[in-house]
């Protein structure tokens, strides 16, 4: 195999493939004019400071066009997607050493090529189009190979998406050309340390704004930066974009900016996706420098995430799936029929006022472990109080409601399902997000159609929602749209029972006490020992047990334990400890969750040598230990200096601790998952 970066060893294949490529391009581009126009619109007259999605390449493209009259038109056609990805990668490249560590060898190669092409664009790109094609085809080889495992198109580095993808659609074509293509995946001798210069500078560009944003403090609900569009440099600097568009390219939702102004950008995304779709394939992932573009196709809807947050692509994909679930929760799958009737159907009006719900879900992706753990969390409560709450809900559920949920914020107090029905943790997450992010539910009792995508994505259920106090919310779900008054009576009775049995007071106590603190772990060397203490009598101990560690930032629990998440496999529930020093800033907390996400992905996915049973990782921020058995998953963060043996020892103690408190921190028995 040729070593990457060795110009001389480039295969001959691509030379020959240029002609056929053009042929294919002609055939498969259903609407070149539109894409070309798009390209013009998007990139033709941009003169502002080059933001990350803007192609540095456009000058090159136009130069190519001038030089080679015959291919000029076609080159432009490709430009829509082409310039897009390339520009991005060049602007915010930063293919870091970390990437090198974790990626497959062929991706490394691409990284190296990237450098190569980056340098070329620096010096001014005067070569003919043929030369570029050659190089790109090379990468096609690399990516086509990478994608065979999961049929994901890993368009690496400098990859021009259109051309890159062009080779992919039919696996046969890339296999057929193996002799040539294979050259792309050389040995992994490519040392990524050679990637330097431009990239480092570009990295600062994005990181700077990112961290500033993170520190900004409490979140303002709803959509932000609505005034922006893709011509604003600030818009391009956001680290994580989410888009929803129709397969006709109509924008439906964008996390940042005004969807109407982003019509052109949406059309570009659509062009990329439909181009691949036209050849019977699906684009899953484009990797461009430190940006990942993850695509998800769900019926007539395209969901896209463009992220430079270094989250694993599986995690981003999961987030897109949740985002789609949230759409379904609001509209049911029946909305897809509208697209059948009219492919140009504009879905935006149907989502009127729901930006806040989608934005809040996206916010939860960074702050709510439930989004990647596929589990929900409970408000810690004395066993008796939770039993009383479950009892009250059970009575009502027997009389008609499908599900009764009592929640406090995003934590479950009690959850009861009627027989033979179960509530998927994601449904619960989406429902809870929908309700907590819509302020109107707090104003008065409401009766709203909702659809639980995992339960039945085709039909609405009706949710009776009433806040019993500031945080505590009762949700009764029924299939009968005429059930309001019945549920209203149920609510009145439940409320009486909850007040009589002091459940609401216990809930308030629990909120005041806060969640689990690692300092309270029995046998903690830091705080006064309180072995055998239970949560019930912990309230009184709190003062004593927390004073010492909180005065010493970074001390944490035993053996340098800083934080943990314990997920019970059978209950589909998790419990996370409260943030304690050093996780005092929002950015530190976010980093921790991101690290957990990564760890979770590596524990569950085959990629990177997984799935694993146990992992011990050290990075510059912390030591992370994860442990997965058939009963539970544990994710724990330690001081970077923590020793492996003592960390494992502490993990055992955490598990024991949680088991001792199981009845208080989890909802046992009553969970619908046990039916």
């Amino acid at each position: 195999m040729a070593s990457p970066g060795d110009e001389g060893s480039r295969p001959n294949g691509p030379n020959g493939s240029l002609g056929s490529f053009s042929e294919r391009n002609k055939r498969e581009h259903s609407n070149p004019e539109i894409i070309s126009a798009l390209y013009e619109e998007l990139f033709g007259e941009e003169d502002c400071e080059r933001p990350c999605y803007l192609p540095d390449h456009r000058e090159e493209d136009s130069r190519d066009a001038e030089q080679d009259g015959t291919v000029a038109r076609e080159d432009k056609e490709k430009g829509g997607g082409d310039g897009e990805v390339e520009g991005e990668s060049k602007k915010v490249k930063g293919t870091s050493a970390e990437l090198a560590g974790s990626q497959m060898s062929n991706e490394l190669d691409a990284g190296d090529f990237q450098e190569d092409l980056g340098a070329r664009s620096e010096t001014g790109h005067d070569d003919g189009i043929q030369d570029r094609d050659q190089e790109i085809s090379l990468r096609n080889g690399a990516s086509a190979e990478a994608s065979f495992t999961e049929r994901s198109v890993a368009v690496d580095g400098e990859f021009s998406s259109d051309r890159g993808l062009d080779a992919l659609p039919s696996p046969t074509s890339s296999q057929g050309g193996t002799s040539g293509y294979m050259a792309g995946s050389g040995s992994s001798s490519a040392s990524t340390s050679s990637i330097s210069g431009i990239e480092a500078a570009n990295e600062q560009d994005t990181e700077g704004t990112g961290s500033r944003k993170e520190e900004r403090g409490a979140r303002v609900p709803g959509k932000r930066h609505t005034e922006e569009d893709d011509s604003h440099p600030s818009w391009r600097r956001h680290k994580k974009h989410f888009f929803i568009l129709s397969n006709a390219g109509k924008p439906i939702y964008s996390r940042y900016g005004d969807e109407h102004k982003l019509a052109g950008f949406s059309a570009t995304l659509q062009a990329i996706m439909s181009f691949v779709e036209n050849s019977g394939d699906t684009v899953h992932l484009v990797r461009a420098g430190d940006h990942q573009i993850v695509f998800l196709v769900r019926g007539p809807l395209y969901l896209v995430c463009i992220s430079s947050t270094d989250e694993p692509s599986e995690v981003l994909r999961g987030q897109l799936e949740l985002l789609h679930g949230q759409l379904i929760l609001i509209l049911t799958k029946a909305v897809e029929k509208c697209f059948l009737k009219n492919s140009k159907f504009d879905m935006r009006p149907l989502l009127g006022g729901m930006d806040v719900v989608l934005s809040s879900l996206i916010h939860a992706f960074s702050w709510e472990p439930a989004t990647f753990l596929k589990a929900y969390t409970c408000l810690p409560l004395p066993y008796g109080a939770r039993q009383a709450a479950c009892g009250a809900l059970q009575d009502m559920t027997d009389s008609g409601a499908l599900f009764s949920v009592l929640m406090c914020g995003n934590k479950v107090i009690s959850l009861v399902g009627s027989r033979k029905t179960s509530l998927h943790p994601h449904d619960l997450l989406l429902l809870s997000n929908f309700i907590s992010s819509s302020d109107s539910f707090r104003t008065s009792e409401s009766f709203s159609p909702v659809c639980l995508p995992r339960y039945n994505s085709a039909a609405f259920m009706y949710a009776y929602v009433q806040y019993l106090n500031k945080d505590t919310c009762l949700i009764l779900l029924t299939a009968d749209p005429n059930d309001f008054f019945h549920l209203k009576e149920c609510r009145a009775q439940i409320e009486i029972v909850l007040r009589e049995s002091n459940v609401l007071r216990e809930v308030n106590n629990s909120i005041e006490r806060g969640g689990l603190r690692i300092e309270d772990m029995p046998g903690s060397e830091v705080g006064p020992s309180e072995s055998g203490s239970t949560r019930g009598d912990r309230a009184s101990d709190d003062g004593a047990s927390t004073s010492a560690p909180e005065a010493v930032p970074g001390a944490g629990g035993p053996a340098g334990l800083w934080h943990f998440i314990y997920r019970s496999t059978y209950l589909d529930q998790f419990i996370a400890s409260e943030f304690s020093p050093p996780f005092t800033t929002r950015s530190a907390q976010k980093r921790l969750y991101r690290a957990y996400q990564k760890l979770h992905a590596s524990m569950h996915n085959a990629g990177g040598g997984g799935p694993h049973k146990m992992q011990y990782r050290r990075d510059e921020d912390h030591v992370l230990l994860s442990w997965r058995t058939s009963d539970f998953e544990l994710y724990a963060a330690f001081d970077p200096l923590a020793e492996k043996n003592s960390a494992i020892f502490v993990c055992n103690r955490i598990c024991q601790w949680i088991r001792d408190m199981e009845a208080e921190v989890f909802l046992l028995g009553a969970t619908p998952f046990n039916w």
Binding site: A334, S440, S446, N456, M461, Y462, F484
Partner: protein, 203 residues
Amino acid sequence: MGCASSSPAPRQGRLDGISHDATETFDSRNIRIKLVLLGDSGVGKSCIVLRFVRGQFDPSSKVTVGASFLSQTIALQDSTTVKFEIWDTAGQERYASLAPLYYRGAAAAVVVYDITSPDSFQRAQFWVKELQKHGSPGIVMALVGNKADLHESREVTSEDAQAYAESNGMFFIETSAKTADNVNQLFEEIAKRLPRGQPTQKP
């Protein structure tokens, strides 16, 4: 399970339920009626209701999801009381197909538009037609031009609205939930126009 998303089919035999005792009268002096608010999103339906029920005005816009249920009792001069059970529906397009769920069996309907938005006036006319077709017979309808405090940016004249209301047998009033102008008058007027309880039930 559930009802289809597009059109919640009226369930025969379950016409009680959400519309149960909608127009039930305790006696001729104490009436309980179901009232529904309809109109485009953002015209201020919830603000009118919250002003009427709680005397509050919250300028921060909270988008109603589905429908909110509130009730308020008023006493009229002739010493009768009327308890309004109010369905404050969401104005968003996606809920339009669910509106029958809320207006079925309603004795009164308040169709709201925003005097600064001709579109919302168009939308109001849509709701009026819908109610004429599918609403309860004899339903008392009010056409309400809200945000009267923004008269300097008025786009819909009172004359046009008045004329439309008259030609459709509705009464017309302009309100401001912000300044509380005419809000109570609106509900009092509806109460007055309600058909009084069945004479046979008189004690």
